[in-house]
């Protein structure tokens, strides 16, 4: 070693052993021998640190999934996830988004998880709860001045609004596993359950909503003009008069002045 290429090689080997892609020996051969910490032990320390940081991030984001699976099972799955899904940036708050789809694959593949078909949707709820907390603020637009709301005004979903449609009673499961909640019996869902995760006064909020509200929110995905929305609401027999102001007040929807 002794040039830039060697700096590259040392980092390449270090990264490869941390990822578990190669045998440790090529990397161990470029480090000093140390009677206190041999090369294998040193690699294990760094590997544990790297994996441990991401495991703690997942534990923090998915507390209800962890509670349901139990510590040992959750940590085993989380470890598998961390080794399969690298982190691509310094911000740990954006790591772990793929955990629900990872769970979905595991549940399809492994009979041991046959009793937990709702876990991916529950995990999605927890990810959205986390994402809503950190989501970008919406621009402010005063709705109190009705004269300012003209045809150029567009309605959008809030940056902090996330929605789930599920056939599992995940709202009750999630709520029943909050620290302050008493256990309630969870009933099966008749048809679909619609859940919105939003941010109100800085704090994420989870709500079960009716199918009519769900349809209104879906119409607004991607943004829509007030007139167009009114036309579609008539076509689909949706009541906007009272629901729209309430949705704006709750922070689900945001008004933008069109250009």
């Amino acid at each position: 070693m002794g040039n830039d290429a060697d700096l590259q090689l040392s980092q390449q080997l270090f990264a490869a052993v941390l990822d578990g892609n190669i045998d440790d020996q090529p990397f161990i051969s470029i480090v000093e021998s140390n009677p206190r910490i041999n090369g294998k032990a040193a690699i294990d320390i760094y590997r544990n640190n790297s994996i441990g940081t991401r495991l703690r991030a997942l534990e923090s984001i998915y507390p209800v999934v962890k509670k349901i699976l139990g510590e040992k099972c959750f940590m085993g799955l989380a470890h598998d996830f961390v080794t399969a899904y690298p982190s691509y940036g310094p911000d740990l708050n954006v790591y772990g988004e793929d955990f629900p789809s990872f769970l979905s694959t595991i549940i399809r593949q492994q009979d041991a998880f046959a009793g937990f078909p709702y876990l991916p949707d529950l995990a999605s709820l927890e990810w959205f709860f986390h994402a809503a907390y950190y989501a970008t603020d919406d621009p402010l637009y005063s709705v109190s001045d009705s004269s300012a709301i003209d045809t150029s005004v567009l309605l959008f979903q809030s940056h902090a609004l996330y929605s789930i449609s599920t056939t599992y009673p995940i709202y009750a499961i999630w709520q029943g596993n909050q620290a302050e909640e008493k256990k309630k019996e969870v009933s099966a869902v008749d048809g679909n359950e619609y859940i919105l995760i939003s941010r109100y006064q800085g704090h994420p909020r989870v709500e079960k909503i009716c199918s009519e509200d769900w349809r209104i929110v879906q119409l607004i995905e991607g943004g829509i003009g007030l007139e167009a929305l009114a036309d579609m609401a008539v076509e689909q027999d949706l009541e906007l008069q009272t629901r729209l102001p309430a949705m704006i007040e709750q922070g689900w929807l945001v008004l933008y002045q069109g250009s």
């Binding site: 980092q11 390449q12 206190r36 310094p90 907390y133 989501a135």
Partner: protein, 299 residues
Amino acid sequence: MINEQSTSMDRPWSASLPKGAGVGLRGQHIPEVIQQQPDIQWFEILADNHLAEGGLVPHQLMAVRSSYPVTFHCVGMSIAGVDPLDMKYLKSIRSLAERFEPAWISDHLCFTQFANHQYHDLLPFPYSEESLIHVGERVMRIQDYLGRALVVENVSTYLQYRASTMTEGEFLKALCQLTGCEILLDVNNAYVNQVNHGVDAREFIRNLPTQYIREVHLAGFEDKGVYLIDAHNSRVADAVWELYEHLLHTHGARATLIEWDNDIPSLEVLAGEARHAQQILDALEKASTSTDLQQAGVC
């Protein structure tokens, strides 16, 4: 090629430099800090935990900033990495700095990323002339982009490279001389390296250039029997306090920070550790004032 800089970069923000002993701000303590305004001299913000542009986090940080001097501590610059600099990350840090005006910004002498994979750990590299040029160029680019001197921290390590031709201390000193960056001297890391590799921590501290030492970190380690882990999960050890006193007597008083990242205790425990550091700083100041007066023939 890097041109040697004889002095540190200008520091227009120096009017708000933290002094004395501060505490690393952790999420669970933020409401208490905002509501009760504890008697803590300054806070270090883990900038990587505050990259979100929306929600409560920036508002909370602004509330803290309005009452206390702050510094930024980063873990994502990958100063020694061979991947291109993460300009998106640096842009976020610069944007945060413009908003919250930290007295200085620090990161670690290590790499954290390779082939776009982020390892979230402080990974060592060989200390060689070639590495020095590589790291020096990156530090210069970071400083140019941030518009200020970077403060670079020595790290705890669990391995050393055969290819190293200089010590970490020699590397840091040369890096400061090349780039005008400054040093965040982590005393716990120096002690961990002494136990793990037999590096004399007192000599390491003594040989660092006084004029470049901007800040000191104190933290707790985890004793694994034959080696130590830089776990930041306990009180500062007696041996580290002794090294801290050695540092202050060698280089003089420096802004000092209590770092605690795992198994985080109450804010009062952290404040207690900061008070201990402040007592040592005060004793040093008293002793130096007394010596000055004696030399001036006042007493």
